[in-house]
Symmetry: C2
Subunit: 315 residues, 2 copies
């Protein structure tokens, strides 16, 4: 089990390449949620998403032999950009498998960061199997989306929340593979077990929620627009942590997620991708539970395609 000290240890490699992100209160959001509301701006990071923290911690901890053989991973976008960014920072080769329908903006960004991008498979899970195979054949390091070093690295944003707002009451975090919510929950519960950690995901991709609820891995249909949380097969190591530390898990319909993308744009002037807007939509489901409590919404990333942005503005 990852502990607070492991996340404290990740600070040095993470802050070698990036700075803490802001945590801002928006009176325009308070009005909507009915309580004091802060946004953790992971969309302000290089490559536009929280995952870059995990990649930086992972490459810093790679043994020399694995550094020379290069990294192999699969991604719907943000994880791949994180690995590409971290690999470039460390001078390591990265090969990234993406599903055939991957967001072209994210693919271009990964290539711009110097990674080799290969399209393979219908969805994330098919791309992942291919990358795993390649890593074995070529002797490289396969990076799974929930490797411990990634959870430790992304946990640094949880630390930043607690440093900026030590008396936070509730943190709402979107869940894809679960690294973000695990890192946040490990930090928050170690510092103050009273802090409520609410996970959230699209109702059109409920695998992680159903697995958390039933206590066993449940695969589920996946038809969400929110590619950051488009998980079909649950991840067991993050599930173990979530069952211990996450207090609740809310599902939000894609239509409400799209509405929240527009609300975040209008009220905070920040572009967030669908995953990064789910916490706001989730908060709007439970106003009574949130009243008079200090609320943090994790805006996990900003990498939305123009097509999806246009769709969100037409809802």
């Amino acid at each position: 089990m990852i502990e607070l000290k492991d996340i404290l240890l990740a600070r040095e490699p993470v802050y070698r390449h990036l700075k803490p992100t802001p945590l801002y209160n928006y009176p325009t959001l308070d009005e909507l949620t009915g309580t004091q509301t802060w946004v953790k701006h992971e969309n302000h990071l290089p490559v536009g998403a929280f995952k870059v923290r995990g990649g930086l911690n992972l490459v810093a901890r790679l043994p020399e032999a694995e550094r020379s053989a290069g990294l192999y991973t699969a991604s719907t976008g943000n994880h791949g950009q994180s690995i590409a960014f971290a690999a470039r920072a460390a001078g390591i080769r990265a090969t990234i498998a993406v599903p055939e329908q991957a967001n072209p903006g994210k693919v271009a960004a990964m290539r711009g960061l110097g990674a080799e991008v290969v399209h393979h498979g219908r969805d994330f899970d098919e791309a992942r199997l291919w990358a795993q195979q390649q890593a074995e054949e070529k002797g490289g390091k396969f990076v799974g989306p929930t490797d411990e070093e990634l959870i430790q690295g992304v946990g640094t944003y949880g630390l930043e929340i607690l440093e900026a707002l030590p008396d936070v009451d509730v943190i709402i975090v979107p869940v894809g593979a679960g690294s973000g919510v695990c890192g946040t929950a490990i930090v928050a519960k170690a510092i103050n077990p009273e802090i409520e950690i609410i996970a959230c995901q699209s109702a059109q991709a409920p695998a992680m929620k159903l697995s958390w609820e039933t206590g066993r891995p449940v695969e589920a249909d996946m038809n969400t627009l929110a590619e950051g949380v488009a998980t079909r097969v649950p991840f067991e190591n993050t599930q173990r942590i979530m069952r211990e530390l996450v207090d609740d898990f809310l599902l939000v319909d894609d239509a409400d997620i799209q509405k929240a993308v527009a609300q975040m744009l209008e009220r905070t002037h920040n572009l967030v991708e669908e995953a990064g807007a789910i916490p706001l939509a989730a908060a709007l489901q439970i106003p009574d539970r949130l009243r008079d409590r200090k609320l943090v919404l994790v805006a996990s990333g900003g990498n939305i395609s123009m097509q999806n942005l246009r769709a969100a503005l037409q809802v």
Copy 2:
């Protein structure tokens, strides 16, 4: 004349309430501009624009007598939010006059920050005359948009650019009243006179450019959508600095500014207001001059209305 040391002195009051903003290179912009391109993310600040730096420096330097009488100012939006934020941080009352057609999002944000907002006049200049009168009648402190303390404060982003990228070759800065370009030019020229400072503005609001070019105050028609640069009457103190330190001044048609808003969204996943997109549009006018030079575009703010955003996405 404001000097580098004055801007260094502004660091302490500014960083008491905010953190340096990122300067990121985007390979997706390099592709467009044909040269290595960084964005200075002033849209990541609290209240979403560079001006907050100036407000914080100004309130920190107020004599006790003026603190108790309160601040009076006029604004099309970002300056007013800056003064409201700084006044709240210092526990001072702020009264802000806005034109009758002011951006409702910015007005709501000013009120959310605790300022009293009064609608008055057809444009910024009419609102300004009213606020000036009120300050005299009530014995408060009138804050003009180009007060020296504001230029000193906003100059801190120029310092951050030089710290992050000491070998920058060209900085392109949008001009409304001119505080941003003056602060940047004072820093850049003091550190390296070879750095080229290019000012830019909407072609539908050319007063500052015409005044800079002719060496005397020229009023001009003002029909731009880019409210951050919607200046009809030039400011003499910033003009004096600009004539000495600014190397060139480009005008960009509103249609190209709107296109640049969409390009910034698509390629950097950042929402910038029209003023903050002008530097990209200006860079696209002069690819030959920029080739092989390190280019910084100042994304001055992100406070665009949803109506204008929708219009930009339909261009």
